[in-house]
């Protein structure tokens, strides 16, 4: 048993952390989706290639790499499509040499892929609706899982695609997508790879949540040490101390389940991710709400990272059905 990162992993973590620290602070965090320039820069640093499987030309980074990178993104409250574009769509493409162009562009941060569910295929053409496709507005192509479970790639250049933008609570732009006999290229990702994709995407999201929790707690502790009420620092009130201590226990318990999910054997990982989401889905939002409350009036404005962080946490904690769906899955 060993909790230490390898030298390579530590290097990646430090690199990502430095990259984000240069771009995000309490006034810029979670102000909006990461710019495409920054996204491309992350691609140029090799981050996406690291997370892609080897058969797609990536470095085959696994759960630990997903965790450390996602946690850093969460810590900076960065709003990126990592989980879906790289981990889901990337793996969907991985087995198909014919779409190699997309894979390369994806890894370089040059192309953005979005994941959609819905529609059916007739004669190689996809028709149907997919609501609230995350990052669907700016996507260059869609990976689509049809109603019967077929995987397809659809280029947005195709004239059979209409997109209506839907702004989400973290400020990211989803789309309602209508496919109207759009040309669709079948993808052949094996079931095991596709299952792994979902597990890693889930892991990425809970890691982002844990990162965000640690930032929200840090921001809160800083705030209450500085601010005064009734002539005393807020931090000197016993009730406030205990609430922060409670937030710390939530963070550490969440981190524990995250670590376990990243560290267990592959066979146990899907269940461990579900277990972690069943706890973290609720706990992250509770922590974010407490952080806002302890910031008082400033907490509910758009001025401070904490209010915007609540929005990001609300979104992430509800993805994939959030804690509720995870608990249902565990109870079944």
């Amino acid at each position: 048993m060993n909790l230490a990162l390898s030298d390579e992993q530590a290097m990646v973590r430090d690199m990502v952390r430095r990259f984000l620290a240069d771009r995000y602070d309490a006034t810029t965090m979670a102000k909006g989706p990461m710019s495409s320039d920054d996204w491309r820069a992350l691609g140029e640093l090799g981050l996406f290639a690291l997370l892609m499987p080897e058969q797609a030309g990536g470095l085959g980074g696994g759960a630990v790499e997903v965790m450390i990178i996602s946690q850093e993104l969460g810590r900076a409250l960065a709003i990126t499509p990592l989980a879906e574009a790289i981990l889901l769509c990337g793996r969907a493409l991985a087995a198909d040499q014919a779409v190699g162009g997309w894979t390369d562009r994806l890894m370089q941060g040059d192309a953005l892929l979005a994941f959609a569910r819905g529609g059916e295929v007739v004669d190689g053409r996809l028709s149907g609706l997919a609501d609230i496709v995350r990052d669907g507005v700016n996507a260059d192509a869609f990976v689509v899982e049809t109603e019967v479970g077929a995987l397809l790639l659809v280029d947005v250049q195709d004239s059979g695609i209409r997109r209506i933008p839907v702004r989400l609570v973290d400020g990211s732009m989803a789309a309602n997508v209508r496919f109207d006999a759009a040309l669709a290229q079948p993808l052949t990702a094996p079931a095991s790879l596709w299952a792994e994709a979902h597990t890693l995407a889930g892991l990425s999201i809970i890691a982002e949540l844990v990162g965000a929790m640690s930032t929200l707690l840090d921001l809160t502790v800083d705030y209450i040490k500085q601010r005064h009420q009734f002539g005393k620092p807020i931090a000197s009130f016993q009730v406030v101390q205990h609430r922060c201590a409670r937030m710390y226990t939530w963070l550490e318990q969440s981190r524990s389940l995250l670590l376990k999910a990243a560290m267990v054997g592959e066979k146990e990982r899907t269940r461990a991710v579900t277990t972690a989401r069943a706890y973290i889905g609720d706990t992250a939002l509770k922590l974010a709400e407490e952080a806002v409350q302890l910031h008082g009036g400033m907490g509910v404005t758009n001025e401070l990272a904490v209010g915007r962080g609540l929005r990001r946490v609300l979104l992430l904690s509800r993805l994939h059905g959030g804690g509720i769906a995870a608990r249902s899955a565990l109870a079944a």
């Binding site: 009734f230 009730v239 758009n302 209010g307 609540l310 509720i324």
Partner: protein
């Protein structure tokens, strides 16, 4: 012991129902349902206010000598409950609930004659200038100062958390008229015309993207001495009257129960954990309704309010927050929409996924976080309860 309404109260309720059925248009109802902030937006509010004034029920909570309909506490409660169940807009309270009662209680005849009709006609739209940056709930540390120059005060300072100040043309404000005396003694209550040089309103966007709050900067603003309410130095006790009036004034539970019922309609039948959360919220809300009613009945029978009345803001905040969080979850991914456009019932809004109720859910959730912060944080409420109810 008896919970039933008298015959008179029953026919009063029928009268209110008939009025609401006739006067509350689908547009007003829709506007109210798709309001993301605490109060209706001016277009909705103005229309509903005119209808109520025409009916003679706008200032239903004012005593008859001040122009109210002379209703008893139970009648007011019946009216509020019927309005909530019918889904009527919530009118901004700064004029009707806050400065109105101050004016008819402490104002000169001239002030009443000038201001009360304009408040009722909505010619004056009021904002509340109490809070200042860094002072939190601690009014004693007020720094806005008013210096007397002849028959004017020259007012300079910085107010914050001023709800709907962007729509307001009048501000009632606490200002420091005397820096020499004990902090609470040097405060006065002024009525300030906002349409004059030196008044600057700066928006504070909420995390939801709503523009409800503002900062108001006062830079050597001139206020006639005749627009001071009460004596110099009486501001603190007028503010206390106003805040107690605000607190005791209205019931929270009817709106919560009505919104909870509406959620079951708009989000469809809830199952599993969601059904359990909805049920627990309903239990809390039904209890709160009776907790509020107990105090109203006591007041109706002439008793002073019990310390239990201090619990309702705390409880309502928590139930409201639970309800808005439930709504987000009940709509699934569609509950995570947050358009940048406003208002939600307006023509600029993008087509909603699932329904307009889903589209507004996240904004309402975010704005509901403010319930436990403004008007005395939940922590302050707990301290007050411990003191007043338990002698701690």
């Amino acid at each position: 012991m008896d919970l039933s309404l008298t015959k008179d109260q029953q026919s009063f309720r029928e009268e209110v129902r008939a009025f609401l059925a006739a006067s509350l248009t689908p547009e007003l109802r829709r506007g109210a349902e798709l309001t993301s902030g605490v109060f209706a937006e001016p277009d909705i509010a103005r229309e509903w206010q005119a209808i109520l004034e025409e009916q003679g029920w706008l200032v239903y909570h004012w005593p008859d000598h001040a122009g109210g309909p002379g209703w008893t506490p139970i009648q007011r409660w019946i009216f509020e409950k019927e309005c909530a169940e019918a889904g009527a807009p919530v009118l901004p309270g700064m004029g009707l609930k806050l400065v109105g009662p101050v004016l008819y209680t402490f104002g000169t005849q001239a002030q009443q004659d000038y201001y009360l009709p304009r408040l009722r006609s909505a010619e004056h739209f009021w904002a509340q200038g109490f809070s200042e940056p860094g002072a939190g709930s601690d009014l004693a540390s007020l720094r806005t100062r008013a210096v007397r120059e002849g028959d004017h005060y020259i007012v300079s300072g910085h107010k914050i958390w001023t709800t709907q100040a962007q729509y307001a043309n009048r501000l009632f404000a606490l200002v420091r008229t005397d820096a020499e005396v004990k902090p609470q003694k040097g405060i006065s209550f002024l009525l300030i015309d906002m349409a004059q040089p030196g008044v600057t309103v700066k928006p504070i966007l909420s995390a939801s993207g709503d523009h409800e709050l503002n900062e108001v900067f006062l830079d050597e603003v001139r206020v006639p001495v005749s627009d001071r309410v009460g004596d110099e130095g009486q501001g603190w006790s007028i503010a206390k009257f106003l805040l107690e009036n605000e607190r005791g004034g209205s019931s929270f539970a009817p709106a919560i129960l009505a919104d909870l019922a509406r959620l079951h309609t708009s989000a469809g039948p809830l199952t599993g954990e969601l059904a359990d959360r909805a049920l627990r919220l309903r239990l809390e809300a039904e209890a709160l309704e009776m907790t509020e009613l107990r105090t109203l009945i006591e007041i109706e029978h002439g008793a002073a309010p019990d310390p239990r009345s201090l619990t309702t803001k705390l409880l309502a905040s928590e139930i409201r927050q639970g309800l808005e969080a439930l709504a987000v979850d009940a709509f699934g991914l569609a509950g995570l929409q947050l358009p940048g456009e406003r208002p939600f019932y307006g023509g600029d809004m993008p087509a909603p996924v699932v329904s307009p109720a889903a589209q507004v859910a996240a904004a309402r959730y975010l704005n509901a976080r403010a319930w436990s912060i403004f008007g005395g944080t939940s922590e302050i409420q707990l301290t007050l309860i411990a003191k007043a109810a338990l002698g701690l």
